[in-house]
Symmetry: C2
Subunit: 272 residues, 2 copies
DNA sequence: ACCAATTTGTCCGTATGTATG
DNA sequence: TCATACATACGGACAAATTGG
């Protein structure tokens, strides 16, 4: 294959004179590459981003220019770009040009939660992680929460008070609350580990609050206590309440008849 | 744009009669879409995978067939496919056909660790997460380790004994050891959260063992103790030793003159 | 082991809507 | 307003590799 003879002029892209065959005549030139050019495009650009030659915010050359520089056709180049785009390493800035970017929290969380769902992780696995992360996040939050996150946390609680009977909203707020707590911990690794959990639980949580009318009051009360503890800088209390909250969540889950050791349900239908 | 008038024949792909403008003349047709077709291709296929209509292992139709079904040009379809390929949702099965797949542990870890690195997370953030996850992983491992993982753990320790002075190897084994412990915990969420940490620490760990000759002995000793505790089913001991191990790691790191609150270094040079 | 059909990888040329100057 | 540049999208083409007889 490869009609146009010009291959990528990149460090590791040999001219590939020997068509990647299945046999080896000599062990001299043992085995190598044969990687579609579109993939090489992805790799070289990715590399430039990772090693810092291309920094987030930098605008990429036009497709035409890039294609010419790399010595591939624009179609080929585009295939390579799409791959990067989908991973969040490049992004459109104004319909026109592409800029280098860093995958954002939300994207990462979505990617991870999807992966977990596809692996059919069990509710128990998820919960074990929650009971581990959330209380500590609350503790750190009480110790270090930035003012603006604290403010948003307060708004979150208030909004939940006001819209306590709007199912879709309280679940969104619930996920957001926990995300905010982790953000308040000022530990981005913690945030990136916590956020996918909320997304994964989205659907089962929805079913929970639909089936148990009193659950939402307990939810609100817990959030309020946790928020107050964090706002007061009381690490112990924040952690303790969060732990209770997570344990309560499990009880509610089991009580509502869900299988603790069953797989987390896919978000299937009606999850706007 | 969009020369060929035929848009995707998918649930949520409206014929898009109104060119996506920036103004709205009526609130009647409020706002929507205007999404490149290649992206829709990505989304529809992704959706089919997530909701289970396409199961891992299933072979996708040929590009020609797919393009026809979706009503787009093959080039467009390919762009959409590349995006999926890069995220691990589809994969090549023998140069010819694409099969649906689930992103594997390794891929997910790589993606996540790259994202964390691009976010310039600090060593302190990483370490806080380690001191949280690793001891618990060790505890669970002691309680539930499957035999084969236990075996691999033993092999890991033995191999480290034998190749204690091969820098590249001990670091690989170190990362592997912790990954194995998390796998032994039988909690895949834990695994997916733990693995990226090891990858991120790769480079700084390497520098650590180069600069501190005695560190590797402490490393081996700790791994041995942890392994024995896990093998004996002694949860307390396993957890305790792991905690010591992680704290020791921090001490070594600081002692070697690294900035605890500095960013984790990029893997830059020489990281085979 | 060879041939024929299929499929992928790659390229070219072109049309069109949109944004920028 | 108009011209230009650029991204999206299409159609057609062909070489190489695979697959099935």
């Amino acid at each position: 294959m490869r009609q146009g003879r010009q291959s990528l002029r990149v460090p590791i892209a040999p001219e590939n004179g020997i068509p990647g065959g299945t046999m080896e005549e000599k062990t001299l030139f043992d085995a190598i590459d044969t990687m579609p050019n579109y993939k090489r495009v992805t790799l070289v650009i990715e590399e430039q981003i990772i090693n810092g030659n291309l920094k987030p915010g930098d605008a990429l050359p036009t497709e035409h220019a890039l294609a010419e520089q790399l010595g591939v056709n624009r179609s080929t180049l585009r295939e390579g770009l799409r791959a990067l785009e989908n991973v969040g390493l490049v992004k459109r800035a104004g319909a026109k040009k592409l800029i280098v970017s860093v995958p954002e929290r939300a994207e990462i969380a979505e990617y991870t939660s999807r992966a977990m769902r596809l692996h059919s992780v069990k509710f128990s696995e998820l919960w074990e992680m929650m009971i581990l992360l959330e209380p500590v996040a609350a503790r750190y939050a009480a110790e270090r929460a930035p003012k603006e996150v604290l403010t948003r946390l307060g708004q979150n609680v208030k909004e939940m008070e006001e819209r306590l009977h709007d199912d879709a909203t309280i679940i969104r707020l619930d996920v957001e609350f926990h995300s905010l707590v982790s953000q308040a911990s000022r530990n981005r690794v913690l945030v990136l580990s916590e956020e996918p959990l909320g997304l994964l639980l989205y659907s089962s949580t929805k079913r929970l609050y639909r089936s148990s009318p009193r659950a939402r009051y307990r939810l609100l009360e817990a959030h309020r206590k946790i928020y107050e503890a964090i706002a007061a800088g009381n690490a112990e209390t924040a952690e303790t309440w969060m732990r209770k909250h997570i344990e309560d969540f499990k009880r509610g889950h089991v009580f509502a008849g869900f299988d603790f050791h069953g797989p987390v349900r896919p978000p299937s239908d009606a999850d706007g």
